[in-house]
Symmetry: C2
Subunit: 283 residues, 2 copies
């Protein structure tokens, strides 16, 4: 997905949010905004939003001299999600179509962000998200595709929700599929890294690999050759969240995107509405 003009003011908003997360020094926050602003004219017309996201967070790290400002909150998100996971796992396992139930849950849990501090809030956010309209018309296509493959490449997104990705992986395992779960190569916002995957036990039920990407999403231009090779040989790829959609939507690969639509530009790109949970086969 290419950068839309509407993304540009949003980059500045993201820069401010990230700067505030990393430091309380308003002069440094202003420096971040200034340095991000001057990058805007050099953003190529074919850039994706995560190209700029990557640059923004590099500026934040440099200006504030913090390598992983989200580490603590990621841990909290994982802990909250782990506390809730057994009750949601029971619901999934007790439903008529456990894989579908798990996919919905994993997409709904994409509401988790840094603001969540109470189990109750997280629980309620997921419940609210699950009761919203779902746009899962491509689920039968996914089911059919699954029948002809033995392995699935599952590209993760954020900390916290990885606990619910694990429930999807469990269901895929039950169907006899081997899963390779992909994390980012470096800490970037609240995105999943190797550390998160180990923390929630993803490595017990899937092969965990890194894409090498330090962008807030997966764009092949920032991935290792090893990952690109794995990607190119995959028969079915499930990519979670907006960042992975933004970076991979133009790739010619057997992709399915599972995400909660959090921005109007992505909604337009997917021909859907803000807030919806979407499962969409790549074109």
């Amino acid at each position: 997905m290419k950068v839309y003009l509407d993304c540009i003011p949003c980059f500045m908003r993201q820069a401010l949010e990230a700067a505030r997360w990393a430091t309380e020094d308003t002069r440094k926050q202003r420096t971040v905004l200034d340095e991000v602003a001057v990058l805007i004219p050099s953003l190529p017309i074919d850039a994706t939003p995560i190209d700029m996201g990557r640059k923004i967070h590099r500026v934040v790290k440099e200006v504030t001299r913090t390598l992983d400002p989200y580490r603590e909150v990621k841990r909290q998100c994982n802990d909250h999600a782990l506390k809730l996971s057994s009750q949601f796992r029971k619901r999934v396992e007790g439903s008529g179509d456990p894989l579908l139930a798990a996919l919905k849950l994993a997409a709904a849990s994409n509401v988790i962000d840094f603001a969540v501090t109470l189990d109750f809030d997280l629980n309620r956010s997921i419940e609210e998200s699950l009761t919203n309209d779902l746009d899962l018309v491509d689920y039968p296509v996914l089911k059919e595709r699954l029948e002809s493959v033995e392995e699935v490449l599952y590209i993760g997104d954020n900390a916290g929700e990885i606990v619910f990705d694990r429930i999807v992986v469990e269901q895929l395992n039950r169907l006899g599929k081997k899963i390779t779960f992909v994390v980012r190569g470096e800490p970037i916002i609240n995105d999943v890294t190797i550390e998160d995957a180990s923390y929630v036990g993803m490595d017990k039920i899937a092969k965990v690999i890194t894409s090498g990407s330090d962008a807030p999403g997966t764009s092949l231009r920032y991935c290792t050759e090893e990952f690109i090779d794995t990607f190119n040989h995959s028969k079915l790829i499930l990519a979670k969240g907006q960042g992975n959609f933004e970076g991979l939507s133009d790739e010619d690969a057997p992709l399915f995107f599972l995400l909660k639509v959090k921005c109007p530009v992505v909604a337009r790109e997917l021909n859907t509405t803000l807030g919806k949970i979407v499962l969409r086969a790549g074109e």
Copy 2:
């Protein structure tokens, strides 16, 4: 009022909105964003939001080669407001405190923007705005101050709402006050100019002067010496709308601000909440 860090992403949003208003050429829109972005680092720490607003709209005019992209819509706003004015005038005149009723109406009509295309919508918007919480605790202070002055300097804001400013001016005239109504020196967004004041007949009931400002608000640094002299000799100044508040809130002058709070930063500055109609004596 100084620029807050939150204003900076908003400047980019305003630039995009203004660029889209002035041209359909997306390359020119992108050029506007690029040129505005590189201005951000040179924005002084003591700048006001309207300093940047002025620069943004200069860039838009230069890049798109349009001098007054809002002229037609301003005319439409004035026409819609004129159609509604007699019914609102009757309400004001029939109320227990016609001046207070007129002030509320003039602030509520600050909801008028370019999106308003139907009389019904405008009517409804004003009605909704009037039923919101009002923060008019300084009205008794204004009433008291009015008793000791013969003249009021009334600094206007937008086209459309100027029709309702006229109703306030009528009420002030009834109280025996002479009014000098101030318009911008050049077309800037949908702000009032001499042309609007004549169109709605403001010149029939008040002396109309220009501040000389080409900013979307009144900042003395962009005003003519003549206006600054008038300003400095005024015993009571009523400044309408956010732009005038942003530019004048730090002046040591007998100011009253009347506005609808449309942005969270202004809400914070005024210690009130978004959407409120506020009458506040300057400090």
